[in-house]
Every structure is written in C-alpha cells, then in structure tokens.
C-alpha cells in the first residue's frame, strides 16, 4: 500500500491498514539489525534531526540507531544546549532547524500538542517521540509489534494497562492502538490516576488490579513518577507497590502465557518487582529491540520508501 502521511503524530489518526503496514514493514526491518554489517543505504543523503526537549535515553538512542542503520545522517539537539534556554520559542527554534533543510524532525517535548503544533508550521516530516501526556506513537507501535510477534495476532487479546493512566502518553497511544487492532484493553490504577472521560477510548476500567490480572493476556505496567509528590496521587511507594504493583504474589494468578511489558525506565520494586521484570514472562527487552525496527520502518515509510521498493 501507499503510505501517504507526512507526519507521525498520534495513533488516533492511523487506520488499521496503516498500522498493519507499519508493523509489517518493521518485521522486515528487524532482520537488518541481526546482520554482521547492520547498515543499508536506503536513506543515504537524508538528514534526520533529533530534537529532544525533555530527557530521554532509550527513545533517543533508538531513533538514532534506527536512522543510522538506514544510512541517514542524524543530529541531536537537547533542550539544555539549544537556544530555547536563551528564550527562543519552540516555533522559532523549529523554523531555524528547518532552514537547514532536514528531512525528518523527531520531537520529544514536555508540552502536549507540541509535535502537532510543529507539524503545522514545518515542511519537514515530524515524528512525535512523546509530547507531554498526549501520545507516544512509536512506543505503541513497538509494543504492538512485540505482542503481535509473540501472540501471532492482536485481535481478541486482553491487554491490561496498569498505573498512572492519567499522566501517561504511553497509555494513551496504546489504548488507541490496541483497541483499533481489535484487542480488548483494560486499565487499572489508583483512582487518582484514572482520568475523567477515559471511557471514550473504548477501554474498560477495572478497580482492582487483582480482578484484572487473571484475565489478561498482556500486562503492561507503567512507570510511576515518584517525583510528583505535590499532587497527592498516592501516599507512598511502599503502599503503591503493595496495592497497585506487580508483585511475585500477584504473578501466581496470571495466565500461563501472559506477557509482561513495561515502557521503561523501570522503578524496580515499585510498580514491578525485579524478579518479574527479569522473569520468563517479561518481554521488556524485546520491546527495546523492536523499538529500533519500528523506528526504521517509520523513517523508511516517511521517506517514501514504499514508492521505490515493492513491499508486497
């Protein structure tokens, strides 16, 4: 199929066909990373700017590696070293970057909607690498790729997302993505972390983690932002772990073939105990591996790859 999008901003604007096409492309990209010489010339001469306005290790590295494996040139800009600390606005900074003619701008920003706003003023393609609490589409795509790889299909699967749903862009992208692909999504977490209007995603809110665990084919634990103390979201990490965390005790009631996921970085011993994160059900590192493949697929498709190469 023809991939016609200029930007990758959110899961909400993807069709089922587009998601499938991206995942299929990513499946094929994965093999490149297993070669002794991990580089193909597909994006030779393309310039990709990684504009990270918020701290990130794995996402930035993943995009960077993905771009380099396709032979694109990458340049990273971090907020602290950019002119934005001198008071330049986001739009001005982006326009200046564009004046140097990059092909793709990968943006991570603390404000929801930042990638969308940039996409409206820039001719270059924009990939949203996480905007505030809004969306993180490449994360959802790599999650879906990993689950599909392990389970064969996403249709009819029960996906449980647990933790701070209200403040999680990963949760938003995954709720949209998985439900689109025919999976059934359940969410659970402290009531302080379940936002109003969550039902509009077509997900089921389960009050108690214990009730949801035995039904789930996939359990995705979200990172708890322990630095947020002023919002009175939960009393202590100790209680959070006991009531809302994935403990060894709770693992006794999971489905035999359950998959345990986490978008990282993990607070070991808070939302998930370390033996589970490293245990046989965990596919956390597969997520990271597939992240590179998904991002290669996104770069490839945005660069009009499908026009030049027969992918059928």
């Amino acid at each position: 199929m023809q991939f016609a999008k200029k930007d990758i901003l959110d899961m909400a604007s993807f069709s089922v066909e587009e998601i499938t096409h991206i995942l299929d492309t990513a499946d094929r990209m994965k093999e490149i990373s297993e070669r002794p010489v991990k580089k193909v010339p597909v994006l030779r001469g393309k310039t990709i700017v990684l504009f990270f306005h918020e701290p990130s290790t794995r996402t930035k590295l993943s995009f960077d590696i993905a771009a380099k494996r396709l032979s694109a040139d990458t340049i990273s800009i971090a907020a602290a070293s950019s002119s934005m600390v001198k008071g330049e606005t986001l739009i001005d900074t982006a326009r200046n970057i564009e004046a140097m003619r990059p092909d793709i701008l990968v943006v991570r920003h603390a404000s929801s909607g930042a990638a969308y706003q940039l996409s409206k003023v820039l001719k270059a393609s924009v990939i949203n690498a996480g905007d505030g609490m809004h969306e993180h589409p490449s994360q959802a795509l790599l999650d879906m790729m990993t689950v599909r790889e392990k389970k064969g299909s996403l249709k009819g699967l029960r996906i449980l997302i647990a933790g701070d749903i209200a403040r999680s862009r990963v949760a938003r992208s995954n709720m949209t993505g998985f439900t689109k692909m025919g999976a059934e999504v359940m969410v659970t977490g402290p009531p302080t972390m379940i936002p109003r209007g969550i039902e509009s995603y077509g997900v089921t809110v389960v009050d108690r983690l214990d009730d949801a665990i035995p039904q789930a084919d996939v359990i995705m634990m979200l990172r708890i932002q322990t630095e947020r103390k002023t919002s009175f979201l939960f009393p202590s990490e100790r209680e959070y772990s006991a009531v809302f965390g994935l403990t060894a005790e709770r693992m006794k009631r999971v489905k035999e073939d359950v998959l345990i996921m986490h978008p990282g970085p993990i607070n070991r011993g808070v939302e998930i105990s370390h033996e589970i994160a490293d245990g046989p059900h965990s596919i956390i590192l597969d997520q990271v591996t597939n992240g590179v493949a998904v991002r290669m697929a996104l770069f490839y498709l945005l660069s009009g790859g499908a026009k030049n190469v027969d992918t059928d």
Binding site: L90, S112, G113, Y116, G132, H134, R196
Partner: protein
C-alpha cells in the same frame, strides 16, 4: 452643537420602547420625542436647524453599552494593548464605556495608577474608562488596598481579577470594608489548588489531548464560598466570568434567598464549548476555561431567567507570539470587544433574550452595579449606541482596532454590529 438621531427604534428599558427621536445638545440629551406626535408649536423640534442629523431608520438606539470586564494592559503591557487601542476597539464594538481590570504592571492598587488610567482614556477620546481597583496591594492577597483613595481617584469597583482571593478572611474584610465607599467587589472565583495547572476544562477533551484539566468545581466551590461571605457581610458581590452549570445554580439559589449577589458571563461561554480547544487552539484558551455543552446550556438558562445580570467580555489581549506557544504555556484569554455585540445579539435571534433583556445586561445593569447613570432621558449625558441588527460581517482579526488578534471567532460570519457609538455627545465610531 445640536444633533438629532432620527427614525430609530429606541430601547431603554423602563423609559422607551418604540420609534423616538433623540435630540442632543452639546454633551447632554436635550429631549427624547415621539415623531408620531409632533407638538406643531412654533419653535418646535421640526422647525429647528440641526448641526447634524443621524438617520437611524431600521436601527436600534440604546443607552451606551458598557463592558464591565476588560483588560486594557496599560500601564505595563502596552505591546498587548494600550488604553488608546483598547478604547478604539470598545468604540467600534459599540461600548461607550469599559471597566479596566487592575492587573496591569504596576497593579492598579493606588490612586496614582487610577488617575493615570483615567487621564490616558480622556486623552484617547474614545470610550470612557472606569478603573477597577485591586482588592489587595499587588494582587498578592495579603491585605486591603486603600479603597478610600481608589474611590476618590475614580475607581468604580474592586477586584483581584486574574487571581482569586484565596484567603477567606481577606475576602470577608474586603466585602465589609468596601461597602463604606460604595465599591462593589468583583470576584474571580477559582480555587487554585483544585484548578492546579489546568490548561483547559477537565473532561473527555482534556483527557484525549493529554492536557491537565481544571474541574467545574474549582470555580463553583469559590462561588459558593463568596456567596456565603456575601450573606455573612450583607455587602454586594459580583461574580465575574461565570462558566459552569454549578455556579449558575448556586447564584440562582442565592438570589432566591435574597442575597445581594450579581453575576456576569462572557460571549465565549454561551457560544463555545471545550470542543473549540481540539487541535490545541490557543485562541480557545482562557480562564475559566470553555466548558461542556451542558454548562453552555446552563449559562443560557441563567441569562434567560435573570440569574446572570451582565454580559461582559473579559477582553484579554495577548501578542501573537505569546499565543503561538505550546498550549500549556500559552497565556489565558481572548479579545472580545469587537465581537461581543453580534455574538450577544444572536441570543435575541435564538429567542434566549428579548432586546430589552439584552440591553439590560449590556448597558443598564453594568451601569447600576458601578453606580453611574445610563438612561436615554433629558439631562443625562449623551452616551448612546446605535445598533444595526442586520449588518453582516466576517470577523477579520487583522482589521481589529485592538492591538491584539487572539480571537477564536476569526472567519466567523456574524450579524449585527454597532452602527454608531456616541460618548458625551461626540461620535467616536460610525459604520460607513
């Protein structure tokens, strides 16, 4: 100088509702006459030479509209608006007077700033400006401003608008103390702990956009507190920019009990909902935020049954650059002076308000609350607005007289606008 406004339908609740001619001498209304019953006496109106005649056929002639909630930004933020540009925008919008909120830089918390604002407005020579003094020095919520001083300098009300008075004791004292000077307290009702970092209304749209929301309760809880303090003190209280169904209900019930409370809403709250924020439109960002359709309907009911006494704009100019920021970082507020009248006239077309009720909310009630005369009767100052209810236009922000362009109504096709605005017998705006 003798001016005659001929052939217009004069609506002045309690005084006139029909075809009348208004004769203005210098800055005052000389008389209002019924042209169907000319006296025919020698030297009567028909035989006089007028310096100017204004044909108001097919138009409505009403007491000068007053917008009692405007941010003129001067002194301090002249890049957003000046008293001159704000007053020009007011004149074009049909307002003969505006109340200027005190959150300037420096804050209008003393007689010098009040006097400065009045002098600047006189110099501009468009609409009148009635300054609102600060409840607390610097809007800090830590003490009482000198209301006696402010009143003497020309302030007509007090408010910490833009910020709530969080300390209930201070709010109580402000209500008690201001009564001595006949200054009404205008309350910006918001519990800042509940609204937290809310960038828009809390609910489905905020959740889907990943924005922090402020719940209705952040407003209504303070409306209820202030009503309680109003009843405790017996002092008049005016609630600014009502946006929620719960606030309307609380005010309605308080009025039934006889509380001395009045309220205003703004055109955007009865015209738009939170849906306008979709696509991170910073021109739909204001505080309080746009709410849901249920709230919008409650506001309409409140306007219709008299719970809401006043339509004011909360005109809040911001530079284009400021509104081009990330949604959560962009400042709150939209301009309103040049779109308020047509959006409000729409309420008449939709059957929510009669023309009389509309004029009460846009001219009569604001005047009463700030203690000024505003009626089309002989001897009064000639502050008059002539409305062309059929004038169609498309909102084009680049044509605004305001220095700022931050409106969610750009491109809207609206009907009805000010045909002529007269302040003290002087024409300050006339539609060609």
């Amino acid at each position: 100088m003798l001016i005659r406004i001929r052939g217009g339908h004069v609506i002045d609740p309690g005084n006139h509702d029909g075809l009348r001619d208004i004769i203005i001498k210098e800055d005052k209304i000389l008389k209002v006459i019924d042209p169907a019953h000319p006296t025919g006496d020698p030297g009567s109106e028909e035989s006089i030479f007028y310096d100017q005649e204004i044909d108001a056929t097919g138009k409505m002639v009403v007491p000068g509209l007053i917008d009692m909630h405007v941010h003129l930004r001067e002194p301090g933020h002249e890049y957003k608006e000046t008293i001159q540009t704000g007053c020009m925008a007011a004149a074009v919008g049909g307002f003969t007077a505006v109340c200027a909120m005190p959150n300037t830089h420096p804050v209008n918390d003393c007689s010098q700033i009040t006097a400065y604002i009045i002098a600047k407005a006189r110099e501009a020579g468009f609409s009148r400006v009635y300054p609102v003094g600060a409840i607390s020095p610097g809007l800090k919520g830590e003490g009482l401003s000198e209301y006696g001083e402010l009143k003497s300098a020309g302030a007509v009300a007090i408010s910490d608008d833009g910020k709530p008075v969080v300390n209930s004791q201070l709010m109580r004292r402000a209500l008690e103390y201001s009564r001595r000077f006949g200054l009404i307290v205008i309350s910006h009702c918001e519990d800042p702990y509940l609204s937290a970092d809310g960038a828009m209304n809390e609910g489905v749209v905020a959740t889907r956009l990943g924005l922090t929301g402020a719940p209705n309760t952040a407003e209504s809880i303070m409306v209820m507190r202030d009503i309680a303090l109003c009843e405790l003190t017996g002092s008049p209280l005016h609630i600014a920019h009502v946006s929620t169904a719960e606030s309307v209900r609380a005010i309605r019930e308080a009025k039934k009990r006889g509380a001395f409370v009045t309220a205003e809403t703004a055109p955007h709250y009865f015209t738009l909902t939170e849906e306008a924020v979709t696509a991170y439109n910073t021109h739909a960002k204001m505080n309080p935020p746009l709410r849901t359709e249920k709230d919008r309907e409650a506001i309409l009911e409140g306007l219709a049954d008299g719970t809401i006494d006043v339509i004011a704009t909360d005109h809040a100019p911001h530079a284009i650059l400021e509104k081009s920021m990330e949604f959560d970082k962009a400042p709150n507020g939209i301009v309103g002076l040049e779109t308020s009248l047509p959006l409000s006239l729409d309420l008449v077309k939709k059957g929510v308000l009669s023309y009389t009720a509309l004029i009460e909310k846009m001219a009569i009630n604001p005047a009463r609350l700030i203690g000024i005369k505003n009626a089309l009767v002989a001897g009064n100052t000639a502050d008059i607005t002539i409305i062309d209810p059929e004038a169609h236009f498309v909102v084009e922000p680049s044509l605004f007289r305001s220095r700022s362009r931050n409106t969610p109504f750009a491109g809207w096709s609206l009907t009805g606008r000010a045909f002529l605005t007269m302040v003290g017998g002087k024409i300050v705006h006339r539609l060609l």
